[in-house]
Symmetry: D2
């Protein structure tokens, strides 16, 4: 049994990690931190976790924690993660960072979009972007994994096979994403209160959302050239899930069937990617609670455009589930351990 | 007081017409038809309409109805509307058709997308497309108005000023729409049952939705050249509302502020179009129950793309409200009569 | 045109007052106060109110306000309302207080349940409890009206005819209420955030909710003897509405039909109370946005119990709509002016 | 590995059985029946089950099925279950019936409430009511278990300790229940369509719901005397969950703390019942997807009434989860096998 600590364990990604790890047979949760909730027992704040081991939140004391775990998940706000990640990594621990701090390979891009300098560039250079469908082999050898953002996971998995095959133009790609409210985090804010979100729907951060450079970094790497994209996130009145609709102009005449086969080949053997049949498209409801990414697509021959729809649970494949998948790969555990494929439906 | 009849009065657009007309001081509802509910009183099926005049549903007997009303709203399924519209129109009545039967000017396009021949082409030629923001003058003189579809209303109003000003390319326009469940109509169907829609989100009809040719007809007319678009509708877990996110490449360097001014100028004097300030975008919640179309936009200078977001209530500006607006224009009533601008919020 | 000011105009009841008053032909809104939003324009915070007169929030400066309005609505937190109400009332204004400060006739009861002493008992003695179905005549002559709480409105209207007729026992009445989330107010609080409320349901304040003494005061007055009740509020994942299910043991053998007739007689002529037919029961959806209270009932002969279900919109008949109804009565306006009877459905 | 068949596998309880059994290490699903979906593969109708063994639906051919399974779950409509249950039971199979057909011990009561005669009374006499918290020992020896209804499970578990201890009066018990929409089943029906249920709330079946005699049977058995109850179900706009609020007059002076201890003692050792601390009450959200029943309670000393709140997931502890718990007990498997205790939250 490996020992696991979670730094920043009182947000939605933190408690989702606890939920997933509690059914994982090869690890034991030994510490969870939260400045606000320090001293309080897990079950006191989250009654739904009463059947878990009932440990108490503690403040993030890095030195103390060092002795208490082999694997560190960090679910801290960006910026706050930089130093803690560096510390545990430099002290020989396996680190999976769920913040954005180690995702962008170029520290200047990080500075531009996050308004912060990166103070640990040598560690940043060692970080592996934790999307197993692209970097599985590197992840297996890594000690520091930057867990991808939720929107980027849905966008990159949706475009990967088409870009790799040079089947679509790299200019004017449109990524129109819709996310459930848990993506905004667990917080006291009128803007995420029930009466503001329920029966509503809106776009936000148009052209400015911080997941943009992360998406562009990985798509550029796949395409072998610089790509800028139109990425628009929207807020859905559901708890969980991201559905992303992607538009890219075709470079060649390929039909829907052939394109589906291209996708199936690329993802064959992937335990958590499911390609739909022709004329079947993903529904958030079918991935809720699972680590699965569902993909459907269609070639619109009238407009010569490939339209891809991908769906994930933003808290699972978009965050904590993918983090556990990365841990499994890093530690040599079976990759599917602790992770769910059947959604809670309805 | 003018007399009004509604043919097809038991669906969501039908009862929304009743709600709106019941507060209209210049008309009186004299007949409502429904084959299924014939003989039943309005209040027996729809308790929320108990304070309306409690007339009974009757079968659609065209000859009998002729003597009972001056103005006919038809909220029948497409196909079923063709003959009835023609009949009332040819008998000198004012007709507002909420079906798709008289929207497409080219009967061949209608046949291609709806799988039906159009048997009343001479009447079709007399029909005016009922989008007041484009065709107000023609509507004022018309006896037959084809009330626009919900998705087309949101898409066309969103693109109108930019296309007219030739500020955007006409190729590769992306129209990504999200509609509340009332858009599917009032029906017994597992696919629209609560447990299937709630906490879900999905795309449907990708590349094949029948509102596509209607959007293309009007955009082509605005641009002065043939346009094909990528139009993808999605199903939102809310009762009402359509939010459409539109992407079009810019032809010239225009900033967001200037583009907003272009929109404000074009829509100045429009009672039901509201242009947001910079960095403010529409929310479905702010138009619910109103006849307002809200529009926000942004020029993404990194990708040279104009991103427009428009929002309407699909049952009001997207159907019954716009129908009443058309009636007001046709009859010389004040255009805003009976129509709401303040949403029920929250 | 009478001039109206709203003190505390940035909460849900405040903006609902603005919505309703903006369609009222006999009044003009001249001032709205909010400490937090002082200086900001109404439309800047609430885009859905853009078509209203766009006045700015100001701090609650009592002396300044005195010259600006004839009628004062106070939608302040309890405690905060005491002094302001007294001030406007003592200076000859018509005052409608939406807080709880002037509802409980006995200042000791107020102290017990609200933990505050009442510092304006002489004014409290002049206050009329603003439930028109009981106190219409007194309201017509009053200058100070204490607008009822949302739960009490639904409970009292539900029990009134049965208690008056001494048809039910006064011991062991059960009042099980379910309220939409807007009842909790517009605030930054994790407990009312979307992800906590959506797909959830819970009871709260069992045996301790502050609406209990208000319900008991009015039921005792109706019954002519002291009544204590079991009142349990619950939080529903909807924006608006309160549905209350009431259980009271019958004192005599009366059938459902006869009991319904009793209710119909008592409420005949009431513009905003609707009694359903046998085996038809209220649905929140049918009263949303309206000032209507719907009531359905059944005598369970197996258990000798009367079961009453009442439904209101908590922000309308349960708050701002009833406040306007009271204003109409106080000012001699038509009682229904500005108030809606047809719900926004679906 | 034991072989399992599900008769009636295309409704919500059927597919929930498939979800739960698919993670159960000691059984294998060998057959699922559905008349409507016969011939179709599981994954074709339910994409979320794509990672399950992809068997096809078949018609319910009793003789054929006999050779294909050791354990039979029947999720058929009441009435339809009678004969099939009898057949499999008489042929030596272990049978768990999720319909109401074998729950009521008195066939006359069954006839009164369900309008059907019971044609297999000898089998009915052998059936054990499958509430493990009462009948665990009998279930362990049974070959035919009548799985309890969802509402009865929440009501009986809520009242059990208080009734057993004779702490509450047996007259005038009020059981006010609120259920998510999946309780209505998977069906094409306007009444359960999204737009009718969403943002709505209503009571139904007041005094006539068929779960009433089932609740009364078990409460009477616990109390040792005939009990009739006031049971009112309501429809909640959520997918899953039942929350029941119960009111019973106290027979003795017992405080909340003492009563909580009474409940804790009675349920000590129960793997799926959780008693909350004082002033903590259940929330549907904390039991979703789990087999847990949460209970909170309070003694209202002002009214001398015990108020109990219980919450379950109607599809798990209220149906398919409890059915698997019963199977585990019948087969000597570990009782918690395959069943979840941590909810999907948020």
């Amino acid at each position: 049994m490996k020992k696991v600590a979670i730094c920043g364990g009182s947000g939605y990604t933190g408690i989702e990690l606890i939920r997933i790890l509690s059914r994982h047979p090869k690890v034991e949760l030994t510490a969870i931190t939260s400045e606000k909730s320090a001293g309080k027992k897990l079950s006191g704040i989250f009654p739904h976790l009463r059947s878990c081991k009932d440990i108490a939140y503690e403040p993030l004391n890095r030195k103390k924690l060092l002795g208490e775990a082999d694997i560190f998940f960090l679910a801290l706000p960006h910026g706050a993660s930089q130093e803690a990640v560096n510390f545990f990594f430099r002290n020989g621990k396996k680190v999976i960072d769920l913040s954005a701090d180690y995702r962008l390979r170029d520290p200047k891009t990080y500075e531009t979009w996050y308004g912060l300098s990166h103070d640990f560039v040598p560690s940043l250079r060692k970080a592996v972007y934790g999307l197993p469908e692209i970097y599985r082999k590197k992840i297996a050898k890594a000690a520091l994994v930057a867990n991808p953002g939720c929107y980027p996971t849905s966008a990159i998995l949706g475009l990967l096979p088409a870009l790799k095959a040079k089947a679509v133009e790299t200019a004017s790609i449109v990524i129109d994403s819709k996310s459930g409210a848990s993506g905004a985090g667990r917080k006291a804010d009128v803007a995420v209160s029930f009466c503001e979100v329920n029966e509503g729907f809106k776009a936000y951060g148009i052209g400015t959302h911080r997941h943009t450079p992360e998406i562009e970094q990985e798509l550029s790497s796949l395409a072998g050239r610089e790509i800028t994209v139109n990425f628009t996130p929207h807020l859905l009145p559901v708890d969980r899930g991201i559905l992303t609709t992607i538009y890219a102009r075709m470079t060649k005449k390929i039909g829907t069937k052939e394109m589906l086969n291209l996708y199936r080949r690329r993802y064959s053997g992937e335990p958590f990617v499911r390609i739909h049949d022709e004329e079947v498209f993903p529904n958030l409801k079918n991935v809720r609670g699972t680590n699965v990414c569902e993909i459907g697509l269609k070639v619109n021959t009238r407009t010569n455009t490939l339209i891809i729809v991908s769906a994930i649970d933003n808290l699972v494949k978009g965050a904590s589930g993918q983090a556990v998948q990365n841990m499994n790969i890093m530690m040599g555990f079976p990759e599917e351990e602790g992770l769910e494929k059947i959604s809670l439906y309805p």
